[in-house]
């Protein structure tokens, strides 16, 4: 899981970009704590060919990226 809580953009997207580039995972979980990062990670992941679902995660947000 990429835990990007506490980071503001573009850091969460850079973290996800790195994880995808290095591991090319079929699924990836990402935690973020603000709506702006949710939107940015979602957009980036979709462009990289992933389906994205967002859910609540301890009062923050969890994104599940699936190929």
């Amino acid at each position: 899981m990429v835990d990007a809580r506490g980071y503001s953009c573009p850091t969460p997207v850079v973290m996800v970009q790195k994880a995808i580039k290095e591991q090319n995972p079929a699924t990836l979980e990402v935690a973020v704590d603000n709506q702006c990062s949710v939107e940015n990670v979602k957009r980036f992941a979709r462009n990289a060919g992933y389906q994205v679902t967002v859910s609540d995660f301890e009062g923050d947000f969890k994104l599940v990226l699936k190929k």
Binding site: G6, S8, T11, M15, Q17, D33, R46, N47, Q51
Partner: protein, 366 residues
């Protein structure tokens, strides 16, 4: 994979760009200085002046400096963002991501902006007004952003922020509300310029309302001048940069429509000098510093309005930086660069940003 429609992808940002550009033209028409309808750096500098942190261009005859005024635009931007963030339940106080380092970066970003004479937003507005010196600034701005991106790619981060109390998050919006009272009441200890750009301003209520609308749109769209170029380079994402272009086009068209004038030249542009080297280097400092901060001065105001206390500290750094820039003769005038140690400050700024960039490059947690 679902495809976003063009409208959904770019609509809100282009609309925001048009409104910001239109607001700049409108506020100039109603009294703000030319090509300065909207400028975060200039307006924070004026606020520093109103609080007597600087008295640049002090004129003994009228008894005030030339850039002293509490700009309601700043207040409106922040409170507009706060309002929408509260309504959308996005008001989440957080902070603690290297606040002191942010403060230092902010001081140098402001010095760079005042060497150039404008924040990234005013740079875009100046380009829209035909000021070719601002195109030189843009080149510097892009160079600065590219330098910042090199460090972002190597894991640069100012570390994570943590949740803060509601009181901490509301402190900055409350400060803005206090400034609003001061500008409305205008007590004698608050200084408003009687000559120069500080004396030129749109009516209070108009400036406040227009800025609040911009604040609402900027909060919703995440408008950011630095983010536009950064995301285009880093992620091939052209959303934010579409607003950047929309502002330029709107300002050009707007200036022609209302008769503010539009002449493409380097010379005799309003509140601008044509020292190319310093226009360029000033904006390198702004671009680089803003990437490290995660957003341009406008974006910092919006984030501070959303309860981000790191951004609130950053804005405080901008105000201090403005005072430093004017008190030590680093800020440019409309004819020339400052009379103080400008080179030392700008080069010193690069050294400080380089140290901060390298020191925070360590592997990210998580």
């Amino acid at each position: 994979m679902e495809k976003e429609s063009f409208f959904k992808r770019y609509g809100l940002l282009i609309l925001t760009g048009i409104v910001v550009g239109g607001a700049a033209v409108l506020l100039t028409k109603f009294g703000n200085p030319a090509n300065m309808g909207f400028c975060i750096a200039c307006f924070l500098r004026d606020i520093a002046g109103a609080l007597n942190f600087q008295r640049a261009g002090f004129d003994a005859e009228v008894g005030t400096g030339i850039v002293q005024y509490i700009r309601p635009e700043i207040i409106g931007l922040v409170l507009g963002a706060t309002l929408l963030a509260v309504i959308r339940k996005e008001f989440r106080p957080k902070g603690g991501s290297s606040p002191m380092v942010r403060f230092v970066i902010a001081v140098f970003v402001m010095i760079g902006a005042l060497v150039f004479l404008g924040c990234p937003l005013r740079m875009v507005i100046r380009i829209g007004g035909g000021d070719l010196n601002a195109v030189v600034g843009l080149v510097g701005f892009v160079i600065g952003i590219l330098i910042g991106i090199v460090f972002l790619k190597r894991g640069f981060s100012l570390k994570r922020a943590y949740r803060q109390s509601m009181a901490e998050g509301l402190a900055f919006p409350a400060l803005m509300a206090a400034l609003l009272v001061l500008v409305a009441v205008a007590p004698s200890f608050i200084i408003f310029s009687k000559s120069g750009p500080g004396s030129q301003h749109a009516p209070l209520l108009l400036a406040l309302i227009v800025a609040a609308v911009v604040g609402v749109l900027a909060q919703r769209s995440r408008l950011c001048m630095v983010g536009g170029i950064r995301d285009a380079v880093l992620f091939k994402d052209f959303r934010l940069i579409s607003a950047f272009l929309a502002i330029i086009v709107t300002v050009m068209v707007g200036n022609l429509l209302v008769g503010n004038g539009l002449t493409f030249s380097f010379l005799e542009q309003p509140v601008a000098h044509n020292e190319a080297l310093w226009n360029l280097l000033g904006m390198v400092l702004v671009g680089w510093g803003s990437v490290l901060l995660g957003g341009c001065p406008l974006r910092q105001l919006i984030l501070a309005g959303e309860g981000n206390t790191d951004s609130a500290v950053t804005v405080t750094g901008f105000i201090v930086g403005a005072a430093v820039a004017h008190n030590f003769g680093l800020a440019s005038s409309a004819t020339d660069i400052g009379t103080g140690p400008v080179a030392l400050a700008v080069i010193g700024g690069f050294v400080v940003l380089a140290v901060i960039s390298v020191a925070n490059m360590a592997k990210m947690e998580g």
